[in-house]
């Protein structure tokens, strides 16, 4: 198992390499540069700036330098935020983004699994059926519709949570963003859980467990839960990508100082190292989460465990 995990970690390297290479060259193909401003710079100043950041070198040389710096753990300087290194900028926002993302993932899995399992256990319940059907809305509607609407209802008309002027450490600001992020994932997990749990509940060993008189609670949560979780776990990888995408929107909607805005702002400003850094950091997060999901999968389902 450990050997398998190690091999998988090593396997991430070529994927990251492809990611870095592709994004490096594609971003450079883009028209415009980091120093295009309203006020046109004089050619001499422009040349000095380019030289200072190594932008006057051939693209391949720049690429080599970037990779070299990357291997040493250096993401380079930001071109637009003067005197900041990219890792400082991202490091400032990332803790908040990770907090929101992880909280949303946890909330989505707990609520989705619980709701889906109950819906499978009591197929006759109208309330549960209604909730599951309503959750389809959560899958279809994007965060930038759900977020503002939640803010309108629970922040303005019925002000239970605070929505504007984020103060660090104040949990009340984070409730609505986390719910917005978690909603579509929870909805998806609930539907998947209901279907797989329904399947599991039909199997022989569940009938045996019931027949020998175990209480419903034990049958459901101890016997049926683990195998039912398998499809949910395989969805966790895509879910992480979904949550990262969503966090860009949610941070913008609720004005949270996470790291997502650096990706967007960097793309608009042509701040090459900043965009690259964001893609790399978020790419690593995505790939690592995918890997963890795969390993969890092996733990849940002994049949796919590598020998």
């Amino acid at each position: 198992m450990l050997g398998y995990a190690l091999r998988r970690v090593v396997g991430l390297v070529p994927t990251l390499f492809v990611l870095v290479t592709l994004s490096f060259f594609v971003i450079r193909l883009a028209p415009g540069g980091p120093f295009d401003q309203e006020q046109v710079l004089s050619p001499a100043i422009r040349a000095n700036l380019d030289a200072a950041y190594g932008l006057d070198q051939p693209l391949l040389v720049q690429y080599g330098r970037y990779l070299g710096a990357l291997v040493r753990g250096d993401l380079g300087p930001s071109l637009r935020f003067k005197d900041y290194r990219v890792h400082e900028l991202i490091g400032r926002g990332l803790p908040l983004s990770l907090t929101i993302g992880l909280a949303a993932a946890a909330l989505a899995v707990v609520v989705g699994v619980w709701l889906g399992a109950l819906a499978a256990w009591r197929p006759e319940s109208r309330v549960l059926k209604g909730l599951i059907n309503l959750s389809l809305l959560g899958v279809i509607l994007p965060g930038f519709v759900v977020g503002p609407l939640l803010a309108l209802v629970f922040g303005i008309y019925w002000p239970v949570f605070r929505i504007a002027g984020y103060e660090p450490g104040e949990v009340s600001f984070l409730v609505l963003p986390v719910i917005t992020l978690a909603l579509p994932v929870a909805a998806y997990v609930a539907r998947m859980m209901r279907d797989s749990m329904r399947e599991v509940l039909r199997s022989n060993y569940i009938r045996t467990a019931r027949a020998k008189g175990l209480p419903a609670r034990v049958v459901l949560w101890r016997h049926a839960l683990r195998p039912s979780l398998i499809p949910v776990v395989s969805y966790l990888g895509p879910a992480v990508a979904f949550i990262i995408t969503g966090s860009l929107v949610v941070e913008a909607v609720f004005g949270l100082p996470g790291s997502g805005r650096y990706l967007v702002q960097g793309a608009i400003d042509r701040d090459y190292p900043l965009v690259m850094g964001m893609i790399l950091v978020y790419g690593v997060v995505t790939l690592v989460c995918n890997l963890l999901a795969d390993l969890l999968y092996g733990w849940l389902d002994p049949r796919v465990r590598p020998a």
Binding site: V26, A30, P142, F144, L152, I156, L248, A267, I268
Partner: protein, 269 residues
């Protein structure tokens, strides 16, 4: 036609018809500024049926213009992704072996990355606000699911008798793909293409919401929602109008896609 297909089709047809006809019966255009009515709620006296934004631009006209952009982009980008996806999937599935493995490995790698990265990177490639470029960028990443589905179906078709017969009688590979494989996957392709349209529309709105997509003076539902969200405390209609339009369109497309999949999807043949 079952009601599951007819009803969403009706809703979409109605939305599209109003959006297309709006320039003829609305008294305002999407970029005209009404200095007398800035940020007014929906009213009939001045012809602002859905109210105006902070600058005094008519929200009905802007909403309908955004709807036209969304629909056009959704259909065009979906066509692109269908074309790439079907070709890629059919070739991979039919070739098999190493070619198949390499082609699908590529799809896997791109799949493993969040879509946004790719779209944001691609959108930096384009002059800001260029619609043609926007739909290329979105179409270029939308084909992955399609490629997977088509490949799976091609794999099972490849060994069927009529394909074997075509190979034996000397039909060339493009001919087999075009005449025998593609027609047999078309049902599934149509169903998934219908489900791709709302995703494309979402992408466009998402990019525009972040400020990377459609640019002023043109509106996108995404950029309208962004503006509306900033004014929602004083003028909630600025948020509710575009949010409602987007919701209606997404629900209708999804319902249509699900309905089509239930009828045309695999397992129904």
């Amino acid at each position: 036609m079952t009601p599951r297909i007819r009803f969403p089709l009706l809703v979409l047809g109605l939305l599209a018809a109003i959006a297309l006809a709006a320039p003829w019966f609305s008294s305002w255009s999407h970029d005209a500024i009404d200095w007398q009515h800035q940020a007014v709620p929906p009213q009939f006296e001045a012809g602002h049926w859905l109210g105006t934004d902070r600058l005094g631009r008519d929200l009905f006209a802007r909403g309908m213009q955004a709807l036209r952009v969304s629909l056009a982009l959704g259909v065009l980008a979906t066509l692109i992704s269908v074309f790439i996806g079907v070709t890629w999937g059919a070739v991979a599935g039919f070739a098999g072996g190493r070619v198949d493995a390499a082609m699908m490995r590529f799809v896997d790698i791109v799949y493993a990355l969040p879509y946004v990265f790719i779209v944001i990177i691609l959108s930096t490639l384009l002059p800001r606000g260029s619609l043609a470029a926007l739909f290329l960028a979105i179409g270029a990443v939308g084909w992955l699911t399609m490629a997977r589905i088509v490949r799976g179906q091609t794999l099972s078709l490849r060994h069927r008798e009529f394909v074997q017969a075509a190979i034996a009688s000397g039909v060339r590979v493009p001919g087999i793909l075009w005449r025998h494989i593609v027609p047999n996957v078309s049902g599934t392709v149509i169903a998934y293409a219908t489900l791709t349209i709302p995703q494309v529309i979402l992408f466009e709105s998402f990019l525009s919401f972040l400020g990377l997509g459609v640019q002023e003076p043109f509106a996108s539902l995404g950029s309208l929602i962004n503006e509306g969200a900033q004014e929602m405390e004083s003028s909630p209609w600025m948020l509710l109008v575009p949010a409602g339009l987007l919701t209606a369109m997404l629900l209708a497309f999804n319902a249509l896609g699900e309905g089509l999949r239930a009828r045309l999807g695999p397992g129904d043949e």
